[in-house]
């Protein structure tokens, strides 16, 4: 009976739909000066359905016949309500706005008007991402969102970038946010196995991105359940627009250099080395004066055996391993279609040569997206995005083949070339012996290869059916395919490959993953005027990741540099293939209730099951609640003219983290073949060994987050801003519980123990101090402060992790080092404090101990950006400063580079050694230099911490849009030229820091490829 009633209801509704009349409106959005405004939102008043303007400012929209007006909005312009007076509208937007109140924001499983958000969501427009000289979009997010930290450890083109949203909420699992591209959960795990740094996100051309939403609190992320704890970044790619087919072309070329060099702390020259050698030998008593010291330096038997004429060579190794790198990109896109079908197609080429030798990245990409309106109740969208990239990256850290290590460690009296100009190795003077030592980086770069090639496809099919007027069904299947092949070749003549007669290693990694989502969306008004309504979504999602990896290695290569692949290896050494996979299933639901846009209450729920967890704890429940009060919508506020927006929102929720877990960590297993990196095979027969203790109780980490925020706009949003406070408590953190090494499991056991808290404040303030008809000045400033604290750990014991010692009550990244007390002015001895009280000093390293110092952490206290944009007619000048304050950066190789004599003749030293103590009374930070080292002064201590504060001119752009009246004749609708500088200036407050102050999440330098600054010039043409 009920079924029949429903049937009848549907029938009636369908009839009413059939009889509905529509009307097609076209139009053009411009600014006050008549320049087209692209990407303006065009909405049917009172609804969230609509379109956006294209690059020429044009739009086409089909509206119900009874529609009276459209609402048109865009960033930087006042939102306008336009009455439909004809089928062809021209809308001139007025400047003077800041925040865009009716802007639509993409959120999980849908979109919402910005003022109705209950969660903390920040958006980044595609226009802020395009034409930047970065190989991946995550690098462009630095400074763009308050509370989003984006930092790289390596400056290599194509390198990975670390992103943290609202601090670090995980210790051993992933602390990175979830990326969702066009509704599909994207994989950002690096698939390479033999590449120092790589980035799956470099497969996306930032030019194809329409917008990015950064979901920061539980109200926004809880519907992603067990993957939402670290925040979510939603990427929406460009879609087609109907009307005239439009073509856009852009190109830019530029050049890169090292972003940061410190004149105060570089490598020593040969002459300076001599000064230091003499001091060392005299201070140790080996020599009485400079002449005797010089004799010892060159004495091959009882001295150090430097060539007699060593002073005649002075190689600047930094110059040898770095260069000016070229950079270029070309992008072409096409968009068009008709009422029923629209498309967007694009192609691009990007190439960047790093400033360090043997580093480069290039990418070809293409994308196609098609939207088809099959009927007035059924929509299809399908998209495919493909790219192929190739990257060359050297090793980092302490490997002999690392060119950055070479730049610091190689003796300046060595030379990379023989006198005949050929590359030097195996020389009689043993500068570059074939067997060992820091290699000649030029030979490594010229003779060896370390390439990673990645091919990526992302595709999706989305169907939306309006089953009833209020009920919509969405089904979406999306998939990603990655194919990464790496080839390493090390020549048989010199370097790492020499001992094996040359060797090669190839790896092929494939990943296929899919997300299949089905959900119903029921939106129903509960009053007559339709401004009180609820919106409920419920659905099901299944996802899987399937990986496959193949590795092969071989050695003994022919004596040539021409044959570099395994096909030419005489002796195979490695053969390895393995599939791995994980699966997730979920049911989810969201519910919103809205009263006159004044009060909005939201809730979300998700139940997740994941294959990576223990049999006892495979499923988990996650939820959030949120509410917003738009004070400025209240009738009593209508007369307050100076305040146009005041919104208070709050949310609380529980999310989970299952990212970064091993797929099979819960199982007690025996591994075959290679276990913990070491072969168990013996005499060519298979071996096995326990590789996992197993924990059937293993489950996700959880996050309980509270957020309260206020959004405000004054003077018609000439001044606007957002302030958020959050308290994010991460529980059940994956921890490695130490077992007694006598158990044979020195690596310990994974359990869910530990809590970390992140509390913080984020502030965004923007405005337009000056707005005239032809001139505007835009200012935007954001700042984030996060306070991280370890709440509890396994048996309340600190966990040592490199230079950190995770300790309850302290910042997770507080340094745990010997407290350096400077240099004794009386005798030049190194001094340490004996303990945390800093009362007593000692020159005996055994009398000091490592101390946890919560005031010195690797986590910045404040970071954000300050952006100014000046626009005059078609000319715009914008500058973004990125700043980062309050952290300390650790020089993990300082022990070698400032060793006061210990590594004097082995590794070159930093120029700060020239400031060493010389005579009683000298006040200096460098102890006396003594042959063989000065009382362990080189040992790790806080002396190798540098202040990590810096301000960087992240972006400086001068652009000119050539007036349409000049370009029209050439059928050009839009012509824009620009010059851009990236990382042009870097100011570090610590004048001694020897490396670029951007050192990744752990603020630790590891002799990575130098970060770069670039100057690019480009042109954008639209037809």
């Amino acid at each position: 009976m009920r079924k029949r009633a429903l049937f009848l209801l549907c029938f009636v509704l369908a009839i009413s739909q059939l009889t509905a009349q529509t009307r097609k409106i076209t139009g053009k959005v411009t600014n006050a000066a008549g320049v087209p405004v692209p990407n303006a939102t065009v909405l049917i008043r009172g609804t969230s359905s609509g379109t956006t303007s294209d690059d020429a400012g044009s739009f086409t929209i089909t509206v119900p016949a009874k529609t009276k007006s459209l609402v048109i909005s865009s960033v930087n312009y006042t939102t306008m309500e336009v009455n439909i007076t004809s089928d062809n509208l021209v809308v001139a937007l007025q400047p003077g706005t800041g925040a865009n109140l009716s802007e639509i924001v993409i959120v999980a499983y849908g979109s919402v008007k910005k003022t109705n958000l209950t969660g903390a969501v920040a958006t980044v427009k595609g226009t802020e991402l395009e034409n930047k000289p970065f190989s991946s979009v995550d690098k462009a997010l630095q400074g763009s969102v308050a509370g989003l930290q984006s930092t790289s450890t390596s400056g290599a083109p194509g390198a990975a970038t670390d992103i943290r949203i609202r601090g670090i909420g995980s210790i051993n699992a992933s602390a990175s946010p979830l990326w969702v591209i066009d509704g599909a959960i994207a994989n950002t795990t690096d698939l390479t196995v033999n590449t120092t740094t790589a980035n799956p996100l470099s497969s996306i051309n930032p030019d194809d991105i329409e917008s990015i939403s950064v979901l920061k609190d539980a109200a926004a992320t809880a519907v992603y359940g067990s993957q939402g704890a670290n925040g979510v970044i939603l990427v929406t790619t460009k879609k087609g627009r109907g009307g005239k087919t439009r073509i856009n072309f852009s190109t830019e070329v530029g050049q890169n250099k090292i972003a940061f060099k410190n004149k105060n702390n570089r490598s020593l020259t040969t002459a300076e080395s001599q000064t230091v050698f003499r001091q060392a030998l005299i201070n140790s008593g080996s020599a009485a004066n400079d002449a005797e010291a010089d004799a010892i330096i060159t004495d091959p038997v009882n001295g150090y055996g430097l060539p007699a004429d060593y002073l005649s060579t002075n190689t600047n190794w930094l110059d040898q391993v770095t260069r000016k790198g070229n950079q270029q990109q070309y992008n072409l896109s096409m968009s068009g279609g008709n009422e029923k079908t629209t498309f967007y197609a694009s192609g691009g080429y990007f190439k960047q040569d790093g400033t360090t030798i043997a580093t480069d990245f290039k990418r070809y990409n293409g994308s196609l997206s098609v939207t088809h309106k099959a009927t007035d109740w059924l929509n299809f969208t399908a998209g495919l995005n493909g790219s192929t990239s190739a990257q060359n990256t050297p090793t980092n850290g302490g490997t002999f083949a690392n060119p950055v290590l070479a730049s610091f460690f190689l003796a300046p009296w060595y030379s990379p070339y023989n006198t005949d100009g050929s590359l030097k190795y195996g020389d009689a003077a043993n500068e570059f012996p074939v067997g060992g030592g820091v290699f000649n980086p030029l030979v490594e770069a010229a003779y060896n290869k370390n390439t990673a090639k990645q091919t990526t496809f992302r595709g999706y099919v989305n169907a939306e059916a309006k089953i009833l007027t209020d009920l919509k069904f969405t089904s979406r299947y999306s998939a990603e395919y990655f194919d990464v092949s790496e080839d390493q070749y090390r020549n048989p003549f010199y370097g790492d490959g020499q001992a094996q007669g040359g060797d090669a290693f190839s790896a092929y990694s494939r990943r296929f993953d899919y997300t299949f989502t089905n959900f119903l969306d029921y939106r129903k008004a509960v009053n007559k005027s339709g401004d009180m309504y609820f919106d409920v979504k419920a659905g099901y999602e299944a996802s899987a990741i399937k990986n496959y990896q193949l590795q092969a290695g071989g050695q003994a290569f022919p004596s040539t540099l021409e044959l570099q692949y395994l096909a030419s290896a005489a002796t195979p050494t490695t053969a390895y293939a393995i599939p791995t996979d994980r699966t997730n299933t979920s049911i989810f639901s969201t519910a919103d209730f809205n009263y006159k846009d004044r009060y909005v209450v939201t809730g979300s729920y998700r139940r997740d099951g994941s294959s990576v967890f223990g049999a006892n704890h495979r499923y988990g429940n996650f939820y959030s609640v949120g509410a917003t009060w738009n004070v400025s919508e209240e009738s009593f506020m209508k007369n307050v003219n100076w305040l146009n927006l005041l919104k208070i929102r709050g949310s609380y929720g529980l999310t989970g983290n299952s990212l970064g877990f091993g797929y099979y960590s819960s199982l007690a297993t025996y591994g075959y073949g290679t276990v913990n990196g070491i072969s168990t095979n013996y005499t060519g027969l298979p071996g096995s060994a326990p590789n996992n203790v197993g924990n059937p109780d293993l489950t996700w980490e959880t996050n309980k987050q509270f957020d309260v925020g206020v959004d405000f706009g004054f003077f018609k949003s000439r001044l606007y801003g957002t302030l958020d406070y959050y308290d994010r408590r991460s529980n059940k953190l994956l921890a490695n519980i130490p077992l007694s090494p006598t158990s044979g499991f020195a690596g310990g056991q994974l359990e869910n123990i530990g809590d970390v808290d992140n509390k913080g404040v984020e502030l965004l303030i923007g405005g337009k101090p000056i707005v005239t008809k032809n001139f505007t000045w835009d200012v935007s400033f954001n700042i984030a402060h996060n306070n991280n604290k370890v709440i509890s750990l396994y048996s309340h014991k600190p966990v040592l992790s490199g230079v950190f010692d995770y300790t309850e009550g302290n910042n997770l990244q507080a340094y745990f080092l010997r407290p350096w007390a400077g240099v004794d002015p009386a005798n030049g001895d190194p001094l340490w404090y004996t303990d945390a009280t800093h009362k007593t000093t000692t020159n005996d390293i055994t009398k000091t101990t490592q101390v946890l110092d919560n005031t010195k952490t690797a986590m910045p206290k404040y970071y954000g950006s300050f952006t100014n944009t000046f626009t005059y007619m078609g000319i715009s000048l914008s500058a973004q400063l990125f700043y980062n304050f309050g952290n300390y950066a650790y020089d993990s190789w300082g022990s070698y580079q400032s060793s006061e004599g210990l590594y004097l003749f082995s590794f070159n030293q930093l120029s700060q050694e020239l400031n060493a103590w010389q005579k009683p009374g000298d006040i200096t930070r460098i102890p006396a230099i003594v042959e063989g080292g000065n009382k362990n002064s080189y040992r790790t201590s806080t002396r190798f911490l540098y202040k990590g504060d810096y301000i960087r001119l992240r972006d400086l752009q001068l652009a000119y849009t050539i007036p349409q009246k000049w370009t029209k004749k050439a059928y050009i609708t839009n012509l824009n030229v620009y010059v851009r500088g990236t990382n042009l200036l870097t100011f570090a407050t610590d004048k001694n820091i020897p490396f670029d102050p951007e050192t990744g999440i752990n603020s630790t330098s590891n002799l990575d490829v130098y970060p770069l600054k670039s100057v690019t010039a480009g042109i954008k043409i639209g037809f």
Binding site: V301, S688, E931
Partner: protein, 472 residues
């Protein structure tokens, strides 16, 4: 009408799709390179694979692959580190080891990891002669590792058997936090393990498998270190007389050390750990620390002076210079560090059994002492025949041990077992450079003569945290 049906079919289809994914098995995943532990050990071939995993772990550069043999000479007076070095083993050489020393903790961790691997075999409930064969080797490996552990981390048995040894872990329990057993308990366990192993051990098949007489050789060594000369000699003589092994001759000496292949002819090697083209330590191969690689460590002038020019053992000593240019003697006992097939790692040779038999004959039976000593020396230096007696004979045997087993990690434990001082003379080109390069004596009484219990253990294991060795 038709359209409505379409819409319903979509709704029905969607619900069906939702249900389709709900199968429980969708979330059951297992790795493709590992088996659940119980399945892995459920067959004899599974046990054999687990045994291979234990053998191969001994190849690690942290165990017999480098650390064990290197420190046994370097901490004594057989070798030195040159000034231009790669930073390895410096703390061992200059007696500045601390509780967080890398070598000290990696030896501990990996020795116990190997013990875990054999314990799980020993605990198997499978039966049959094949199983017994596998278990015998597992017992022998366990004894071999406890022998190294107790000699590195505890005082010699000859000093005080009731002093603290090392923790005895004899069963699989990852949540066990054992304290240290006494030295005597550890030695008693080794004797039990080796005796059990000997009774069911496989006959000799190759040099890289622990066969019956290799195990008896290890038993002789254990008794010998306990000062139980009667049992030591009995076992040693049984190996010599009944094992069927023969000493490598002077003529074959150089070829023997140059050969990286597995032996099957019962020549000299009772047991060695296999290292081959694929499974080896790469740059961290034992030979590379001496020659053909890092080349950090050289033969001491004291040791070199002990050999006559006619001694065939000088054929593996290469006069040359350090990388810094000082005249020095390079060690070439493991010449295959840069070749495809790497040197196998000698654990027990027949020559050592002769030396045990000789020394264990004293003080009661000097004739036997001379017999076994001269039998070996005849194959090394034809010009030399010992006829000494009393204390001189003991000294001669100790000296021949030093010469024969040099660079095999024996010397330091001889000095410990005999409670003698380490007496070094300065070597040209050694660290520390310059005027600090002087003679050095480390008395037997020095607390630095034994390694500390690693900090990684004392931090985690409260039962051992109060049992640290004095001086650390």
């Amino acid at each position: 009408m038709k359209r409505i049906r379409n819409k319903f079919s979509i709704a029905v289809l969607s619900i069906a799709l939702m249900m389709a994914g709900c199968k429980k098995s969708y979330l059951d995943k297992a790795p493709s390179d590992s088996l659940l532990s119980d399945d892995a050990l459920s067959t004899v071939s599974g046990l054999q694979a687990a045994l291979n995993g234990a053998y191969s772990n001994m190849r690690s550069s942290t165990l017999f692959g480098r650390d064990f043999p290197v420190i046994g000479d370097l901490q004594a007076d057989n070798t030195f580190v040159e000034t231009k070095n790669s930073g390895r083993y410096l703390t061992q050489y200059n007696y500045s080891v601390t509780v967080n020393d890398g070598v000290v903790s990696e030896m501990w961790n990996n020795a116990y990891q190997t013990i875990l691997r054999v314990n799980r075999i020993i605990e198997s409930t499978l039966t049959g002669s094949d199983v017994d064969n596998v278990k015998a080797q597992a017992y022998a490996i366990r004894a071999l590792l406890y022998f190294k552990l107790v000699n590195i981390y505890a005082k010699p048995y000859t000093d005080d058997p009731s002093a603290l040894g090392v923790p005895l872990v004899l069963k699989y329990d990852p949540f066990l936090y054992p304290g240290r057993s006494t030295i005597k308990e550890v030695y008693t366990q080794m004797v039990t393990d080796l005796t059990t192993a000997f009774s069911t051990a496989p006959d000799y098949s190759s040099s890289v498998v622990l066969s019956k007489y290799a195990i008896e050789g290890l038993l002789a060594r254990v008794y010998f270190y306990m000062g139980d000369n009667v049992n030591a000699k009995k076992a040693a003589v049984d190996v010599i007389n009944n094992g069927g092994f023969k000493l490598v001759t002077a003529a074959g000496y150089k070829a023997y050390w140059g050969n990286p292949a597995i032996g099957s002819d019962k020549l000299e090697t009772l047991f060695e750990v296999d290292a081959d083209v694929i499974n080896n330590n790469g740059f961290d191969d034992l030979g590379g620390i001496y020659n053909n690689g890092y080349q950090d460590i050289y033969a001491s002038s004291q040791l070199v002076a002990l050999y006559n020019a006619t001694d065939i053992r000088t054929s593996v000593l290469l006069p040359g210079t350090t990388k810094s240019g000082a005249a020095a003697v390079l060690i070439n006992k493991y010449p295959n560090a840069e070749n495809a097939d790497r040197d196998n790692l000698k654990v027990m040779r027949l020559s050592e059994v002769y030396l045990i038999a000789a020394e264990a004959s004293l003080p009661g039976n000097e004739a036997d002492g001379l017999k076994y000593l001269n039998a070996l020396v005849a194959q090394r230096d034809a010009s030399k025949v010992y006829a000494s007696s009393g204390a001189t004979l003991l000294t001669d045997i100790i000296t021949e041990r030093r010469k024969e087993l040099a660079f095999e990690g024996d010397r330091y434990y001889d000095l410990n077992r005999l409670k003698r001082d380490v007496v070094r003379v300065a070597n040209a080109g050694a660290i520390p450079a310059g005027t600090a390069n002087v003679n050095l004596t480390v008395p037997y009484s020095s607390t630095k003569r034994i390694a500390p219990i690693p900090q990684g253990e004392t931090n985690v294991n409260k039962n051992i945290s109060t049992q640290q060795n004095p001086g650390y």
